[in-house]
C-alpha cells in the first residue's frame, strides 16, 4: 500500500512535469526534499535526546509501570496484546497526554519512545504489530483539546472570536479518532 502511494506520487508528479514542460522542477524538488529530511531529523536530535534521557530515569524509577497500571482499564481494550504493567503502556499514555496538551515538540520523542517499547513485544521486527498499528492510527488521527496554533492564526487574521472553533475541532477530531480505531479493528483481520 505505502509502496503504491509512494510510487504514484512520484510518477504522477513526473508525468505532470513532462506535460507542463518544467522538468527542472523535479530536480529541484528532489534535492530540496532530501535536504528537508535531514534538516527536520537533525532539528529533532536535541529534543529527542532530552526526552529519551528523561524517559530512561522514569523507567528506572518504575514510573512507566505505574502509569501503565493507571491506563490498564482502557488499554486492555485498545491494546489487548500488551501485557498490563508493561512500560509500553506507560509510554503510550505519556505520548497521548503530550498530544492532548498540545506539547508540540514533546509529541514525536515520546511517540518514538512508545514505538520502541512496542517493538520489544513485536514478533517480526520489520513488520508492524497490531498494537503498533492501533497506536499509530490513533496518534495520526490527532488528539487535540486546544488547537493553539490555529487559534493564534485566527487571532492574527482579525477573528472576532478566535476560540470559537474549539468545540467544532474537538467534535471532528473525536470522529476521526473513532474512525481510526474502528477501521484498524476491522482491517486487522485481513492483514497478517
Amino acid at each position: 500500500m505505502i509502496n503504491i502511494i509512494w510510487f504514484a506520487m512520484l510518477i504522477t508528479g513526473i508525468i505532470t512535469a513532462i506535460i507542463k514542460g518544467n522538468m527542472e522542477m523535479i530536480t529541484k524538488a528532489t534535492i530540496e526534499g532530501a535536504e528537508q529530511a535531514v534538516t527536520v531529523a537533525l532539528g529533532l536530535t536535541g529534543i529527542i535526546a532530552f526526552w529519551s534521557g528523561m524517559m530512561e530515569i522514569a523507567k528506572e524509577a518504575g514510573l512507566m509501570n505505574f502509569l501503565a497500571r493507571l491506563m490498564s482499564p482502557i488499554a486492555k481494550r485498545l491494546f489487548p496484546e500488551i501485557p498490563s504493567n508493561h512500560p509500553a503502556m506507560g509510554a503510550i499514555l505519556l505520548s497521548f497526554s503530550a498530544n492532548l496538551l498540545g506539547l508540540g515538540n514533546a509529541c514525536t520523542p515520546l511517540g518514538i519512545k512508545a514505538m520502541e517499547e512496542l517493538q520489544k513485544l513485536n514478533q517480526q521486527q520489520e513488520t508492524a504489530s497490531n498494537s503498533m498499528c492501533t497506536y499509530v492510527a490513533i496518534t495520526a488521527s490527532s488528539l487535540t483539546l486546544i488547537p493553539s496554533t490555529v487559534i493564534a492564526f485566527r487571532a492574527a487574521n482579525g477573528s472576532v472570536n478566535p476560540t470559537e472553533i474549539i468545540g467544532t475541532t474537538i467534535f471532528a477530531t473525536t470522529i476521526s479518532t473513532l474512525a481510526a480505531i474502528l477501521v484498524d479493528k476491522v482491517l486487522r483481520n485481513f492483514y497478517y
Binding site: M9, V38, A61, E116, A140, G158, T169, A172
Partner: protein
C-alpha cells in the same frame, strides 16, 4: 476550561522536569548517568529515521510542486461538491496529511483571503486542528523502529483523515449556519 487546559500545557514540562528526577533520586537512581545513557539513544533514533524521511519528503515535494496535486484537486472537485465540501478547502484537505508547515501556509492564506470568521475560515480552522500530518507520523514512528511493512495502519490513518474532513464540514455547517 480553556484557561485551565492552557495553564496545564504551560506547566506540564516544568512539572515533568521536577517530578521525574525527584522520584528517581528518592529511589537511589544515579539520575545524571541514567539521563545521559538514555539521551545517547536519541542520536541513533534520528539517524534511523533519516532514510524514511528522505523517501517521503522527495515524493511529497515532487507531487506538490509539479502541479500534480492541483490536477488531482480539479479531478475530485465534482465528487466532493456532492458532499458540500467547498473547493477552496480541497488543497488544505489534501496537504494536511502530507505536510504540517504546508497546511499551515494554506490555512493562513485561506484566513487572509476569506476572513477568519467566514464559513471557509471556520471550516479550514476546524480541519487543521482535527487531523494530523499522517504521513509524517507514519514515516517517523515506524522508521524509528525500523518497521518496513506498515500493514493496515496506512488505510486506517487515511480513513480517519477522511472521517475528520466529513465531520468538520458537518459540524461547522451545523453550528455556524
Amino acid at each position: 476550561m480553556v484557561t485551565f487546559i492552557n495553564l496545564l500545557s504551560q506547566w506540564a514540562i516544568p512539572i515533568f522536569l521536577i517530578v521525574i528526577p525527584t522520584i528517581g533520586l528518592s529511589k537511589k537512581i544515579p539520575v545524571y548517568e541514567c539521563f545521559v545513557q538514555g539521551a545517547k539513544e536519541g542520536f541513533n533514533t534520528v539517524v534511523r529515521i533519516i532514510p524514511y524521511l528522505v523517501a517521503m519528503f522527495i515524493a511529497i515535494r515532487v507531487f506538490q510542486q509539479s502541479g500534480a496535486m492541483e490536477s488531482l484537486i480539479s479531478l475530485i472537485n465534482p465528487l466532493t461538491s456532492i458532499f458540500h465540501i467547498p473547493k477552496e478547502v480541497l488543497p488544505l484537505a489534501l496537504i494536511r496529511p502530507l505536510s504540517g508547515t504546508g497546511a499551515l501556509g494554506i490555512l493562513g492564506d485561506l484566513l487572509a483571503t476569506h476572513g477568519s470568521d467566514s464559513f471557509i475560515g471556520r471550516l479550514a480552522s476546524t480541519m487543521q486542528g482535527s487531523t494530523e500530518t499522517t504521513f509524517y507520523v507514519l514515516t517517523v514512528y515506524f522508521g524509528a523502529v525500523g518497521v518496513k511493512n506498515v500493514k493496515h495502519s496506512l488505510l486506517a490513518c487515511l480513513a480517519s483523515d477522511l472521517a475528520g474532513l466529513f465531520a468538520s464540514v458537518y459540524i461547522v455547517w451545523r453550528i455556524f449556519s
